[in-house]
Subunit: 265 residues, 2 copies
C-alpha cells in the first residue's frame, strides 16, 4: 500500500479533495468523491469504477486495513491529521475517509441494455432531481437485485457525493446509463422483450395484481408531477393503493414497494 503523509493542505497531490462542497456544485470533470468506509469498500470491491486515490484521517487508518487490501497495490493512500483534512475539504470531515473515483467512459442506455441477462429487472427514472431520492432508489435497486438503472436527461447525477452516500455505495455497483430519446428508448426495451410498467398514483391496476415477467422495466417519476401523460399512455400503469385522501408516497418509498414486489430475490 502506497501510504503518503500530507502536511500541507495545498499539496498538489490532494488537489482533487480541495473545497469538497463547492466542487460538488460545479462538478468534477470525470471524477467523483466517495466518502465513508462502507462506500469505499464498495468502490474497491465492485471494480466498476477505478479509484484514483484515498484520503484518510490518520486515526482511521488502522480500521481500514481490510478495506484497503482490496485496492490495487499502487493506489495512493494519503494520510493526514484532522486539522489538515478539514483544511483540505473546507469543512469538518468527521468521517475522515474520502476517495476520488474516475467515471471512465459512459455507456449508452442501449448498449447497457444489450448486456443484460434473460432475467432482468431494470429501473427507469424520469425527472428524479433530488439526490436523496436518487441514492435511496439505487440502494433499493441493489437490495432487490435490479440489473440496471436507466435515467432520462432530467435526472440528477447518481455519482454526486450525497447520492453515493445515501445509496450506501449502490450507485457505484448497480450499472446505470442515461438516455435522451425516450421514444427510441421505449422501442429498444420493446425489442429486447421487456414488459414496461409505470408506477402512477392513478395506475390502472393495483400493483399487488401485477405479474413479474422475465424481463421487466419499472418506470418511476417525480412525486409532484409524476410521469408525463404522453409516457403513461404508452405503458402499463400500476398504482400503490393508499388511505383515502393520500395519493403520493415519497418516490424512494414507492420504489422499495415496487422493487420488492417485482423482485425474484
Amino acid at each position: 500500500m502506497d501510504l503518503i503523509h500530507i502536511d500541507d493542505p495545498q499539496d498538489p497531490r490532494v488537489a482533487a479533495y480541495l473545497d469538497i462542497r463547492e466542487r460538488d456544485l460545479v462538478g468534477r470533470h470525470g471524477r467523483f468523491v466517495a466518502e465513508g468506509k462502507v462506500v469505499l469498500d464498495v468502490l474497491l470491491s465492485a471494480g466498476r469504477f477505478a479509484a484514483e486515490s484515498v484520503l484518510v484521517l490518520e486515526n482511521r487508518l488502522a480500521g481500514l486495513d481490510e478495506t484497503l487490501r482490496k485496492a490495487p497495490a499502487d493506489l495512493p493512500v494519503y494520510v493526514a491529521s484532522g486539522e489538515i483534512i478539514d483544511r483540505i475539504a473546507g469543512f469538518h470531515m468527521h468521517r475522515g475517509i474520502l476517495a476520488i473515483g474516475s467515471r471512465g467512459p459512459s455507456q449508452s442506455a442501449g448498449a447497457l441494455l444489450e448486456t443484460l441477462p434473460a432475467n432482468a429487472l431494470v429501473v427507469v427514472l424520469v425527472g428524479i432531481a433530488n439526490h436523496d431520492n436518487m441514492g435511496s432508489i439505487f440502494r433499493n435497486a441493489a437490495a432487490f437485485g435490479a440489473s440496471a438503472v436507466l435515467l432520462d436527461a432530467t435526472c440528477c447525477d447518481p455519482l454526486y457525493r450525497k447520492a453515493i452516500r445515501v445509496s450506501v455505495g449502490a450507485a457505484l455497483n448497480v450499472p446505470f446509463a442515461s438516455f435522451d430519446d425516450t421514444t427510441g428508448f421505449i422501442a429498444t426495451l420493446d425489442r429486447l422483450g421487456f414488459s414496461q410498467v409505470a408506477l402512477s398514483p392513478h395506475g390502472e391496476a393495483d400493483i399487488r395484481d401485477a405479474k413479474r415477467t422475465d424481463r421487466l422495466a419499472l418506470y418511476l417519476g417525480t412525486e409532484g408531477e409524476g410521469l408525463p401523460e404522453s409516457l403513461l399512455a404508452r405503458l402499463k400503469t400500476v398504482r400503490i393503493d393508499m388511505a383515502q385522501g393520500f395519493d403520493s408516497l415519497n418516490v424512494a418509498a414507492a420504489s422499495a414497494i415496487a422493487l420488492h414486489h417485482f423482485s425474484r430475490c
Copy 2:
C-alpha cells in the same frame, strides 16, 4: 383573520420564532414548529394539535387564503418582509411559512391503544433516532392507514421540525405516544388482541407469507443494530428477502414495504 404586521425582529409577539435552528437543538417546552404550506394545512385541518400563531412572508399571504380559512378566527397571523423573517429565524427562510403549535398534554401508550378500533394496524418504533427516518415512517404510516405509532424511550421526537417536514405533516395527524416499560407494553398489546410482528433481517418468515390480523402491531428497529434479541425472542419475526450479500434496507424503505403489505387500504 387576525393579521399583524411585524417590523421588528425583536417584537415579543414573535419570540417563539427566534433562532429557529438553535432552538431545534434545545427543545421548545411544549411547543413545536411547523413549516411550509402543506404542513400548516395539516396542522389546521387535523385539529390534533392547537396552532398558537402563524408567521408568513408578506408575498406568500395571498396563496395561503384557503389554508388560513381553516384556522380559528382569533389565531394571530404575523406578516413580515423577507428581511425581517430571516432576522427572526436566524437563517434564510425561503419557504416563508411557519407556525408554532402546542403539544398539549401527552397521552400514555396504553391510553392511546385503548382508543383504537377493532381493525387497527399500529407501528411500534424502537431506537429510531434519525429525524429523516422518523418523518418518513410517519408519512408511510399515514399513507397506509396506520392507526397509531408507539415509540420506545430511545426514539427521537416526531415533532422535531425536520421530522414534521419530512412526514409532510403526518406527524401532526397520526396519533402517537411513548412507552418506557417494554414488557408491560407487549402485555398490553397482547391483552388488547394485537398480534405482534417484528421486522428483522433474519426473521423466521418471508413477509410475503405473513397474514394481516384485524389488530396488528408492526415493530421496527434501527438499521444498524436492529431490534434487541430479547424483544425478537418474544415476537413473531418476518424478513424482507433481498439480493445475496444484502441484509439491510433503510428502515423507512422497510416500513413502506411492510405497511403496504399489512395495509387494508
